[in-house]
């Protein structure tokens, strides 16, 4: 008797073993189904894990871009380092024209951001006010759509406040609020009528937002241009769009994607992503162990059958490869089923915004400051399938090392006596 070969079978031999392995799967449907379910569950968990992680972080980025900063903001380098209105853009229309040449930019709107003091008859509040073009701000920001009471600005002489700000001032719709600003030409003040209240669903916005007309902001600050031009760019394309725009900008004007506008928050989010990697690998490892243990149990249950097979002429080495093929096929079936279920789950979560209710209900006030609303999406990136396939690779590896090794050392006579 020749010694069993450790090399993989080739050509017709491999094809025959593969066909035999595939048939064996359906001969033992219950055992196959168990392994498929285990792998599918592991795959679904991995896909959901990365989808939730990416979706949560993307939701924070989107909220910051659409409610606090901008998807992309074009401003001077001096202003980016020192947000003083004295460092404002001199020619916003030229910047807008250049930016709109990029196909990823769907809209542009000038802004003036400045510190101000709001006064009511009862108290006063310091805010970071924003002068906007009411006709275009909705293209680059979700704030106008977040007005729950009243309306958006229609022109000078009006102000829109976050509901938290209005409550602290005890200012009601239709009442006048005084605004004081230290302008480049000296202190300035205006009386503005409150026309709208913002309810974005996040204290970071509702407790700090004050929108006024761009003309009033210019009167108050002395800025003739704008402190920045906000650009409407689809989520996920901000960095690429900013890079393309920067390639055409001259002088000290630059485009900054939202990731560069978050300051310390961006570093925290980046660290969060890195921390998720070992957790994701751990997920895959546990899944692979689950698959391998299932395969081991399956092999142990079939020792008698294997003894018969070997006694009929199939050598141990080929039998080991047969076991390996069976585990790879069943794992692949489970992987495919898991992908369908995993991506399907993410799609349903996006459709129903179930993650939003879960996250806000579970974390509550812990997420204040992130501008995170109750609209939280799940990521649906194709690389999740690649991450889940690590499970298959590890499973195949473990099944080759453990169960296949057991089969390779099989004693047919002893195996046929196994109960």
């Amino acid at each position: 008797m020749t010694s069993p070969s450790r090399r993989p079978p080739r050509g017709n031999g491999a094809a025959s073993l593969a066909r035999l392995a595939w048939r064996n799967l359906w001969r033992q449907r219950r055992r196959t189904l168990l392994l498929v379910v285990v792998v599918a569950y592991a795959t679904l968990a991995i896909v959901f894990f990365w989808g939730f992680t990416d979706g949560f972080l993307d939701s924070i980025m989107n909220a910051q871009g659409r409610l606090v900063a901008a998807p992309v903001l074009v401003t001077t380098e001096h202003y980016h380092g020192d947000p003083d209105p004295a460092n404002a853009l001199n020619d916003p229309p030229a910047v807008e024209r250049l930016a709109l040449e990029d196909p990823r930019v769907h809209g542009a709107a000038p802004r003036i951001d400045f510190g101000a003091l709001l006064r009511s008859p009862y108290t006063m509040e310091g805010v970071l006010a924003r002068g906007v073009d009411p006709t275009r701000e909705g293209q680059v920001s979700d704030l106008p759509a977040s007005i729950s009471e009243g309306r958006m600005l229609a022109g000078p002489g009006e102000i829109v406040l976050g509901r938290g700000v209005a409550q602290r001032l005890d200012a009601r719709l239709g009442e006048r609020v005084a605004i004081d600003v230290s302008a480049m030409a000296g202190p300035q003040a205006l009386g503005l009528r409150l026309v709208g209240l913002i309810d974005a669903g996040t204290p970071a916005v509702d407790d700090s937002t004050a929108l006024i007309d761009l003309a009033d902001a210019r009167t108050l600050t002395g800025v003739t241009g704008a402190t920045g031009v906000a650009l409407d760019v689809p989520l996920g394309q901000e960095t690429a769009a900013a890079q393309a725009i920067n390639a055409r900008l001259n002088g000290t004007v630059r485009a900054y994607p939202v990731s560069e506008l978050l300051g310390a928050l961006q570093r925290g989010l980046a660290a969060e992503r890195i921390q998720m990697i070992p957790m994701g690998l751990l997920f895959s490892l546990f899944a692979a162990v689950a698959v391998t243990t299932t395969v081991v149990v399956s092999v142990l249950e079939r020792m008698r059958e294997f003894g018969v097979i070997v006694s009929l002429g199939l050598d141990q080495a080929r039998l080991a490869w047969l076991v390996t093929f069976e585990s790879v096929f069943s794992t692949a079936l489970g992987w495919l089923a898991g992908l369908v279920l995993g991506y399907g789950l993410l799609w349903v979560l996006n459709l129903t915004n179930a993650l939003g209710a879960f996250v806000t209900g579970f974390y509550g006030d812990l997420l204040q400051g992130l501008a995170l609303t109750d609209q939280i999406s799940a990521g649906m990136r194709p690389e999740y399938a690649l991450f889940a396939s690590i499970t298959i690779a590890l499973a195949a590896l473990f099944s080759a090392l453990a169960p296949a090794r057991r089969v390779r050392r099989l004693n047919p006579a002893a195996a046929m006596r196994t109960e």
Binding site: G115, A116, L117, R119, S120, P121, Y122, M124, G126, G157, E175, R176, V177, A178, I179, D180, V181, S182, P187, Q188, A189, L190, G191, R193
Partner: protein, 258 residues
């Protein structure tokens, strides 16, 4: 609050109405005899246009759980410039305030430097009182008020000052009561935009100074908070000693003037 600072506050509001001519130009129902609201305002402002002086101001800030007394040395040119230095209590002593037109500078001895008060700080309470720095420096509300005589009798003429929609004030109305004949201010009440009175200044202890009647005491009451009150009284007033221009400089702000 010095007389000049007080005059600045009132005059700014009143002159606004006078300057616009929005007060009735002809005698109308509710006018003081042949005087219009504009006439009344002009006379009040003229009466408040004081002379230079050196004085001691005693300021009492009352709260429900405590009362704090301050003493300040005041010097003013009687028009748009004044210098005030806190002399008591010891923990506040040395602080000084220089007001020139609408500019207000503050000196803090702990910092050893002077600071120009930005608009963000001007609405802060002066020494924790019911007065704001804006009250002290006076806000310019020219062209932003409509004035009418809403009532009059033997004791008082009542003027209603209604801000224009764009006026940089959160108040809905100012009610100014004036004594007929002498046109001295009796009270100034601030109303919110819902018709509620929120703060009231009351003037008393009137004295005759070179043909003018001026108050030597005023009281500010926060009508929304029980027990919140600020009382200011002038003592030891010297009208005869001239006030040099050097008293209204940053050097004088830091080192004093005598």
């Amino acid at each position: 609050m010095t007389r000049s600072l007080l005059r600045t506050l009132l005059a700014a509001a009143l002159l606004a109405a006078a300057a616009t001519g929005l007060a009735q130009s002809e005698p109308a129902a509710g006018s003081s005899g042949s005087l219009t609201a504009q006439d009344v305002l002009d006379r009040v402002v003229e009466n408040l246009r004081g002379v230079s002086q050196w004085a001691t101001l005693e300021l009492t800030v009352q709260r429900p759980d405590r009362t704090t007394d301050y003493e300040m040395q005041i010097v003013t040119d009687g028009d748009k410039r004044s210098l005030a230095r806190v002399t008591a209590p010891p923990r506040e002593a040395g602080q000084a305030f220089l007001s020139i037109d609408t500019n207000l500078l503050i000196y803090n001895p702990r910092l050893g430097r002077s600071l120009r008060l930005p608009p963000s700080g001007r609405s802060n309470a002066f020494l924790g009182s019911d007065l704001s720095y804006d009250d002290l420096a006076g806000e310019e509300y020219k062209d932003q008020y409509d004035a009418t005589i809403s009532a009059q009798d033997a004791e008082a003429i009542t003027l209603d000052l209604t801000p224009h929609p764009e006026a940089p004030t959160p108040y809905g109305k100012l009610e100014f009561r004036v004594r007929p004949g002498s046109y001295v201010p009796l009270s100034l009440t601030f109303f919110d935009q819902r018709g509620n009175a929120v703060k009231r200044m009351t003037f008393s202890d009137f004295v005759e100074v070179r043909g003018k009647t001026v108050p030597e005491r005023f009281e500010v009451v926060d009508l929304l908070k029980d027990g919140y009150r600020t009382v200011a009284s002038w003592t030891g007033v010297d009208y005869d000693t001239p006030v040099p221009d050097r008293c209204f400089t940053e050097a004088a702000l830091e080192r004093g003037c005598r």
